[in-house]
Symmetry: C2
């Protein structure tokens, strides 16, 4: 069987358990791996991608290097890890410009700094096209798996929902990314404010391949359904989309949002919401977990469709 | 300027300091990066390569996956880091077989286990050719930089010197890798016994691109010369090479040895040698540090030539 027949997620599901230790702080296939350490868990995460697959119109090497580190930081922070450092592995065609390589690494270094951790070097190799692999490690006193019980509330953290989808949509329509969406799409930052919610959240998942896909994965991992009652519709996303239906589609199928989905016991919701306000963390209450597997929005099943690399 | 004009090491020298923190446990450009932690240093290392550039005749995906983790382990252990875990990032053409992907990861998982640490997942993406990027983290109570003083002794740890060179030589001559060299070339293991030498070694360097290149880099980093008086010539390497001169060339320019060069204060040498025997760690006393930059073998300059990816 070919990798393409199985699909990226099917392949990852096969590969993730290989060699993965029993009793680890997070199960195989979660957003990050890790080992227990005296003060909690030390998480390790690696994420790779092709330059051409993420570089929207207006993004240069700096932004793509930034994106590499931000993607890893997002996974680590969603698992309640405080990033300690990052590395960047590069594949570059021999004809690549040195200035391009420098900008890739400058962007990665800037993103690392924006996440409170250093870039700790990396590696450069010849390749047939530009490809990046970022890694990062983090300390999580209480690492947060994908977890939840029926009745738990589902929150969306952050404010990039729909905005990165609009940026990607514009790019594939051959347009410039509108200024309203450039910060979200070009310089995403994982939200370290999430670390301040420790003890109030039962489970979490990074969302990078689109919210629908993230929620479907969460649903399958928990054996529970996700019932959505509302979704965040930012005015600029609505204005770009031109209709609520189109805007909702950007929120559900956008991708590259690097935000977190939180599962919260109902009795902790008031404290969580107050804490988020104090931390300045945007938080949107989207729905709750229920019996059955699947994702529903106002009673209607949400199509499973997201970004996959195969 | 193109990456190819600058060369791999020139490029890495430009990139390594970007964002690298001051006061880190190891300087930028050393074999691993890291941050201080309460009980020492937490090291992080990433190493990438193309499948076709390392797969010798007789190596399959399992061996190439093994090699990915062993290369990172070698860097971590050379810096006195005890590996905690590894990840593997893969780029695979869509037409790759699933069994090939599984074997790459199985090999990486087996190598991780052989180094006393788990494989903690990774990432898989579409690429135009098979490329791997392994990362690993490690705890080093006393991380060991490239360091040394004039008069310090230079030791070579391990017993793969010349053997991996012979394997590579056979491959590029269109021959099968001789059975004598298969274990060294197909299943290299970083030597965790090195961790038992803490306190007896002043400095160290991983050697993966050939001993001559490693020693030249060490020489430049220290601003000191390396004077070699002897080199390890294993009988099977001599037999393969057919002459001492050719065998020495395999030792100096072989590459893929994943062994360590140790710099040892002379007064600690007797204890070091006794300790190595107790640990079962092969150790070869090769020479000493001296004034001036460069690498000399029995008084004659050793040509700088190694493996580079650009």
């Amino acid at each position: 069987m070919r990798a393409a027949d199985l699909g990226e997620r099917g392949l990852l599901a096969l590969l993730a358990p290989l060699g993965y230790p029993k009793g680890a702080p997070l199960p195989p296939g979660d957003d990050a791996g890790g080992v227990w350490f005296d003060k909690g868990a030390l998480l390790l995460k690696t994420d790779g991608f092709l330059y051409r697959e993420v570089a929207l119109r207006g993004m240069g090497p700096f932004e793509v290097g930034w994106r590499a580190v931000a993607a890893v930081a997002s996974d680590l922070v969603a698992k309640m890890g405080r990033p300690l450092g990052f590395t960047l592995g590069l594949f570059l065609p021999p004809e690549s410009g040195v200035e391009e390589a420098l900008d890739l690494v400058r962007g990665a270094a800037a993103a690392a700094q924006a996440h409170g951790a250093p870039l700790l070097g990396g590696d450069t190799n010849r390749g047939t096209e530009v490809a990046l692999t970022a890694s990062g490690y983090a300390l999580a006193r209480r690492p947060l798996p994908r977890a939840g019980l029926p009745g738990d509330l589902v929150y969306l953290a952050g404010d990039r929902w729909g905005k990165t989808g609009a940026a990607i949509d514009a790019h594939y329509r051959g347009l410039e990314v509108p200024p309203d969406f450039r910060e979200a799409a070009f310089y995403p930052r994982a939200r370290r404010e999430l670390l301040g919610l420790a003890g109030l959240v039962r489970g979490s998942a990074d969302s990078s391949d689109g919210l629908a896909e993230t929620l479907w994965q969460l649903s399958e991992a928990l054996g529970l359904g996700v019932g959505l009652e509302g979704l965040p519709l930012f005015p600029e996303v609505l204005a770009y989309a031109g209709s609520e239906e189109k805007a909702l589609s950007l929120v559900l199928y956008g991708g590259e949002e690097f935000e977190a989905v939180l599962v919260v016991p109902e009795e902790k919701a008031p404290r969580l919401e107050r804490k988020a306000v104090r931390l300045g963390l945007p938080l949107f209450r989207a729905g709750r977990l229920q019996a059955g597997v699947g994702v529903r929005f106002r009673g209607k099943e949400v199509e499973r469709r997201g970004y996959a690399h195969f």
